[in-house]
């Protein structure tokens, strides 16, 4: 009896749809306090002063925390990958987006916790805000950060992600047509049914148990430990059951602040974001601005691509440099384009930080590439499916970063979708396979880019 390949039901499906699954918010610990955050009302402002004394004096309020309570307030989620941190857990000198946490409280109940956040006095001096990535590079643009409006720490201290392959100038010179287009997918919400939620319980021996909805228990535990400067054995994450993530629960948005409140109050603390907070203060998929110029021959070969990408990171980098690198690696889509000049910037704006979401970095470029290829076909008067087959990645073709494809499937998936949709392919395309290029499928301009798939 084989399990692999069998159409087996998901082990937890019945419990999920019949209210049997116990999620983080179903955990009930006696004596639990409610957490609430005081959030920035401004897109961009300097913090002149923070006075928590009135909130601290309220009966039933057990802890108030600000940046002063965090050992390492600024910690980057992917510092281990060489992306320095730029985002404070709590705002200290500035707020850079509406909804940014400035302080948090733990109180006997939710209503009291809300009143306590309202009792915290913060004086702001409003600053001009930047929202349009296209204006970020202007000399008179409002400055989101003191170092500027785009991320400066790609490898080699480059301020952008680059791809350079082949001879782009020659490709544009040889082209019969150059097709230009601009593509702009929007920010969208993850909309998990379960909002961001966390429950922290102090245990014997100074350990803290963190009930977390994270998509990555060890990763989130590492984030908390880094902010607190704690060894990992002081924390125990309990999780593994998440009410929808789609990338939005990698941010570890609640765990550190809830743990700080539990430490300070010596009580169990729960922080459950409202639906409004989930919509307005949790991270989103990034809006992207992509400009493509393709060098094309009139018989449908794509000789080269110049591309400029502006990734709207929101106020802080989070995973954006990673996302732009992945985007760069896949900016030719399912096709082989031998000459490339790609520049991608992580641009800061005064909006909620954007983050990973299903398809991170690539969803955007799939939209741009596939729409653009239709326009190329339209421009030169060629069938768009035939244009795709012609330029489809084949065994031994190389990716934008020079790696030979070992098991490409562009050809069979287009053949199969053509069958399914009733699209008639040419005889040549009907019999094409993913095998290495030869004959009319191997024009001169594709010879030099080829690699040996056996190498990998």
């Amino acid at each position: 009896m084989k399990a692999v390949g069998a159409r087996l039901p998901r082990y937890d499906a019945h419990e999920h749809v019949s209210a049997g699954t116990r999620y983080v918010d179903d955990v009930r610990i006696p004596g639990t306090l409610w957490a609430k955050a005081l959030r920035s009302p401004h897109d961009h402002a300097e913090i002149v002063s923070i006075d928590t004394s009135a909130a601290e004096a309220m009966e039933g309020v057990h802890a108030v925390v600000t940046y002063k309570d965090v050992h390492k307030n600024v910690h980057g989620h992917i510092e281990g990958l060489g992306v320095p941190g730029d985002e404070p857990l709590f705002a200290e000198t500035h707020v850079r987006y509406k909804g940014q946490p400035v302080a948090a409280v733990a109180a006997d109940n939710e209503a009291l916790a809300i009143r306590a956040t309202e009792a915290i006095q913060v004086t702001y001096k409003e600053l001009p805000s930047l929202l349009d990535v296209r204006k970020a590079f202007d000399g008179d643009a409002p400055q989101v950060h003191h170092w500027g409006n785009w991320y400066p720490h790609f490898e080699g201290e480059m301020d952008r992600r680059q791809i350079r392959k082949g001879d782009i100038d020659q490709a544009f010179e040889q082209a019969d047509v150059i097709v230009q287009g601009v593509y702009r997918p929007a920010a969208i919400e993850h909309i998990p049914m379960e909002t961001q939620v966390c429950q922290v319980v102090p245990e014997a021996g100074g350990r803290f148990v963190v009930y977390s909805a994270t998509q990555a228990m060890y990763f989130s535990m590492g984030v908390v430990a880094a902010h607190l400067n704690w060894p990992l054995n002081k924390l125990k994450f309990v999780g593994g059951t998440t009410g929808g993530g789609f990338g939005g629960k990698v941010d570890s948005a609640t765990e550190t602040i809830t743990t700080l409140l539990a430490i300070k109050s010596h009580r169990p603390v729960r922080w459950r974001w409202t639906r409004m907070e989930e919509f307005l203060c949790s991270s989103t998929r990034a809006p992207w601005h992509m400009e493509i110029a393709d060098a094309v021959t009139k018989d449908g070969w794509i000789l080269g691509r110049k591309m400029l990408t502006l990734h709207d990171a929101g106020a802080f980098a989070r995973f954006s440099p990673y996302g732009v690198t992945k985007h760069a690696f896949h900016h030719t889509g399912a096709y082989t384009i031998p000459n490339l000049e790609f520049n991608g910037y992580v641009v800061y704006t005064n909006r909620v930080p954007t983050t990973a979401m299903r398809g991170f970095g690539v969803t955007s470029v799939s939209f741009a590439t596939e729409t653009h290829i239709e326009r190329i076909a339209q421009t030169i008067g060629m069938d768009p499916v035939e244009l795709r087959m012609k330029n489809a990645t084949r065994l031994g073709d190389t990716s934008p970063n020079g790696i030979p494809y070992v098991d490409p499937s562009t050809v069979p998936v287009i053949q199969a979708i053509s069958d399914a949709a009733g699209v008639e392919l040419s005889a040549h395309s009907r019999t094409m396979t993913s095998a290495m290029r030869s004959g009319e499928d191997l024009p001169e301009h594709l010879v030099a880019q080829m690699g040996n798939p056996e190498d990998h």
């Binding site: 897109d43 590079f137 350079r164 230009q180 997918p185 896949h330 399912a334 690539v362 421009t379």
Partner: protein, 368 residues
């Protein structure tokens, strides 16, 4: 006013695992004294069904019934490290971790079984929970008996651990070139969408989505189809409905509740067709590749193209709302050309705006 139909096709690719690798998943397995299998891994099941898929991988690697296997991913004290459930890495990398752990357990079961049966372990196999001599199926012993003997006679806990880790791919910052593949595999897909566009209201309805996915080998075809169908509807939302900032880049008019943020609902559901192609990967567990994230990538361009084929206008800012469709139709009716040709350059959309920007010469740094 008329409704018009159009069809659009898109093809995509998507990498398996974290970009540039270096993202381990680990697992360890122990046998209870009746041979039942406890797997401790860190992969969070975010609804995609990784616990079920991992159980299938462990069951077949060991040769025991699926219902012998329990996956425990509940906490960081007992579970092994996992980088996380993201980057389409659960089935491939998490799956390889449990497979590697199960291979070690299987080898130990065969060794002890060989001692008990007095047969070379190389001549034994495990089928449906029994260790059986190849070619002599009457010579056999249950995995439960082996686990019991290990516990109570040999004084041994049968266990095994596995780590899936691919080396980090360093890149050249000038060219982006890497020395090793910066992914574990690449999956491919294509999507065909049929839409109906109402010229008068600008409303777009997706009538049908056909989709083809090459996911290597499907460990569980039903759950692969679940990913494809769920992703398709998210792709529909990306293409037509969802936007945090309806007047982007302005951040006014943000929808702060379900009533003011349009996500797809059941009334938007088109006819769905899923086709799975199997093109086994060399390194994935049982030939698998990823399916998770790519599932919402092909629909938005296919929808934009279908709209063009229906009413002859390109909308390349997502989502393609009725307002954008109507504005594009008005521009077309006013005779504004969809592209401008200058020499051999054919320009769609606004002028390329920032290509002249050069990296700042001044060194900029986060450090204060």
């Amino acid at each position: 006013m008329a409704k018009h139909r159009g069809r659009g096709i898109a093809a995509i690719e998507y990498p398996t695992g974290m970009n540039q690798n270096g993202d381990p998943s680990q697992a360890w397995i122990k046998l209870k004294m009746d041979g039942r299998v406890d797997v401790f891994a860190g992969t969070v099941d975010i609804g995609q069904g990784s616990k079920t898929v991992h159980s299938q991988i462990v069951a077949d690697t060991l040769g025991v019934p699926m219902d012998w296997v329990t996956m425990d991913t509940s906490n960081t004290d007992s579970s092994a490290f996992c980088m996380g459930t993201f980057a389409s890495r659960g089935t491939f990398i998490g799956g390889n971790a449990v497979r590697l752990a199960a291979e070690k357990v299987r080898n130990r079961i065969l060794e002890i079984g060989g001692e008990l049966l007095e047969i070379d372990p190389g001549d034994l196999e495990i089928i449906d929970g029994e260790v059986i001599a190849k070619g002599s199926p009457d010579k056999k012993i249950g995995v439960g008996d082996i686990a019991g003997a290990a516990t109570f006679v040999k004084g041994e806990l049968i266990s095994g651990q596995g780590t899936a880790l691919k080396d980090y791919a360093t890149l050249d910052p000038e060219t982006g070139a890497v020395t090793i593949p910066p992914h574990s595999a690449i999956s491919y897909a294509a999507c065909a969408v049929e839409v109906e566009v109402d010229e008068e209201t600008g409303d777009v309805r997706v009538l049908k989505m056909s989709q083809v996915y090459d996911v290597g080998c499907a460990i569980n075809p039903t759950m692969v189809e679940g990913q494809i169908e769920g992703g398709a509807i998210q792709g529909l939302g990306l293409g037509l409905l969802e936007n945090c900032y309806p007047y982007y880049p302005s951040n006014d008019h943000r929808g702060g509740q379900f009533g003011s943020y349009l996500a797809p609902s059941m009334e938007d559901l088109p006819e769905l067709e899923c086709i799975i192609l199997e093109n086994p990967s060399a390194d994935g567990p049982f030939g698998a590749k990823a399916i998770g994230e790519m599932a919402n990538n092909a629909q938005p361009p296919a929808i934009a193209t279908a709209i063009y084929n229906a009413v002859g206008v390109w909308v390349t800012e997502l989502p393609i709302t009725p307002e954008k469709v109507l504005r594009a139709l008005e521009a077309k009716a006013a005779g504004i050309p969809e592209s401008v040709t200058t020499g051999k350059v054919v320009r769609y959309d606004e002028a390329l705006s920032i290509t002249s920007h050069q990296s700042a010469d001044a060194v900029v740094t986060f450090a204060v």
